[in-house]
Symmetry: C2
Subunit: 335 residues, 2 copies
DNA sequence: GCCGCCGATGTAAACGATTACATCATTCCG
DNA sequence: CGGAATGATGTAATCGTTTACATCGGCGGC
């Protein structure tokens, strides 16, 4: 492997000069700069990242910790993070599937000296608790972790409001028998959406029926299974609100397979408004969240904290969640 | 920031001993090991990644270069890569959106000293040429780049076979007027799929109609637009084969909105078999590719090359692409 | 009782860059 | 013409680890 020394020797200058050329310092004569550049290109030299980080204490990398890497939601978040980070010359070090706090801690440790800051997505409540006690060695932004402490940086979605608006909308369409397909137990977003659902029902004076609070796991398969369960049960709701779009899509498919028409026989709605939602048949009524903006905002906040830790003021930002009415709720005839 | 020296001082041993404890060397007495462990935990010590990489020449990280990060296809590939890499204790450094060769080269350079190897996805033909001339400084595996040189490591999809099988299937169903919605110009996968389409038509003695070779860009929007175009044109095909599922889904939606029934009025099929395909209405007939396996195979190959560069033998692997018949092609009644 | 060996530990030299400081040649001004 | 200021370059310390080599004590075999 060719190093800065090789370039220096070949160009007949000291390593300091080569370094100055490659870090873009002004203090090099035009002639020397050109010569060093040439030699560098000819030899195929590239500065060694680790060596550079060691002395500068900067890695130009941000770490991303995710619970999983599955589905359109996460890919959109990462896209938002990546775009923003790249614009500022940062790379992304991703690490996923940290179900257990221990695994997460290990991942966090292993990031030391490899990243300048972290974006941590830990929707699990138990995990979040643990995280608070963890001595973070670098700037960090939490995503959807339900933390409400202005001492930390975090971005959240207006889960409650979104769910409330959705259920309210269904009620206004005349639905009284509204089921909710929830997310994984312990998941913060899921809990908040459920809370919004209950509040909306209560607000309309509808008694909640525990049998209509189904448990899911955010996957299409869970939606499909829930639809089958509802089809088999004696009393069927007139509307199903799924805690995310993937489950709504699965449910759509399940109901159809069971011979039900959506929205005529049953309304189905989701949450997140993933890109594909509008292409469903019927197009899916959902709660729009600008998912990639979620990643973008988190990244901006993090970059701010990295750039000037003292000036940076921490806080929790909430992203709006707005109702998007399409055909699957029955508000629009056909399409 | 606390370093190995702090731990050494606090534990009353030399840095060498601390290092030995944290690298898992045998040569430490049980008593000392325990003491160092304790002190380390108490002080919240974590080895500095960059410093470690510098001396060991290992980063335990693999770099991933992608053209973009959009949609389920990429997210599945990354998932495959991540799972395999993590199982071997590797992290992922991702970098996306390298449309131009220059940007790609820059990204590649900036990875030196930060990764042990790279997985490069560059479906663009021009890019691939350039890449060949680039002196790669680390093991690399190419993904879907259409390279057919046993001197490099690469994984490809059986694009031609898959497309051929799909079109053949449509012909067997009685279709003669089959349109193809292609992918981006210059994209290798797209070109191969187009080739398969043409070959199948030719094999059945059907004259190709250039007007029915539409250009797309792999997005849902492109599929939607193509459907609109076909609806407006005088002669309409009886089947549309889209070069990927996203476009097929967009087309499905477009045709429906134009009042056409799928598959009764027009058959629609895709390629990739992304997870959501089976939940469409009608469920999408597609060409199944084990996308996450694509990432997994690439990673295994790369890890092999990293582990033992001498023993490793390079080569191109092709992943099968098999027809999955669902309802959107009309082969099955209803769903 | 001496020697050699072995296991546990320490010392110090890398790794490849950046950068404060020193050096040297020029230029400019009084 | 002397000396300060300026600009280009070099020297060497430094970042936090790992690891080859040295050291040292204790133990077993002769």
């Amino acid at each position: 492997m060719i190093t800065i020394k090789d370039v220096a020797r070949e160009a007949g200058v000291s390593v300091a000069t080569v370094s100055r050329v490659f870090t873009g310092s002004e203090l090099v004569s035009e002639r020397t700069r050109a010569r060093v550049r040439d030699v560098g290109a000819r030899l195929g030299y590239a500065p060694h990242g680790a060596a550079r980080s060691l002395i500068t204490n900067r890695t130009n990398t941000i770490g991303v910790l995710l619970p999983d890497l599955y589905g359109e939601f996460f890919s959109e978040v990462i896209r938002g993070i990546d775009q923003t980070a790249r614009a500022d010359g940062y790379h992304l070090l991703v690490s996923s599937a940290h179900e257990e706090p221990a695994a997460m801690e290990a991942a966090l440790r292993s990031m030391r000296g490899r990243v300048d800051g972290m974006i941590i997505m830990s929707p699990d409540a138990a995990l979040r608790e643990r995280l608070g006690t963890l001595p973070l060695r670098f700037p960090a932004v939490l995503l959807n972790s339900g933390i409400d402490d202005s001492g930390v940086d975090a971005i959240t979605i207006a889960n409650f409001d979104g769910a409330y608006a959705m259920v309210r909308h269904l009620i206004e369409l005349g639905h009284r028998r509204i089921a909710m397909l929830g997310g994984s137990a312990g998941n913060f977003d899921a809990a908040e959406r459920l809370r919004g659902y209950r509040a909306a029902l209560a607000g309309a004076g509808i008694a909640p029926d525990p049998a209509w609070e189904l448990e899911g796991d955010f996957s299409e398969a869970a939606g499909f299974a829930a639809a089958e369960r509802l089809l088999a049960s004696a009393s069927r709701p007139s509307a199903l609100f799924a805690a995310n779009d993937s489950m709504a899509i699965g449910a759509l498919s399940g109901f159809r397979q069971g011979g039900l028409r959506v929205p005529e026989d049953i309304a189905v709605t989701g949450f997140d408004d993933i890109p594909i939602a509008r292409y469903m048949d019927p197009p899916l009524t959902s709660v729009h969240v600008d998912i990639s903006a979620l990643g973008e905002r988190a990244t901006r906040r993090l970059l701010g904290a990295i750039g000037d830790p003292d000036a940076h003021l921490r806080g929790v930002e909430e992203l709006p969640a707005t109702l998007v009415v399409r055909a699957s709720c029955g508000a629009r005839r056909g399409r």
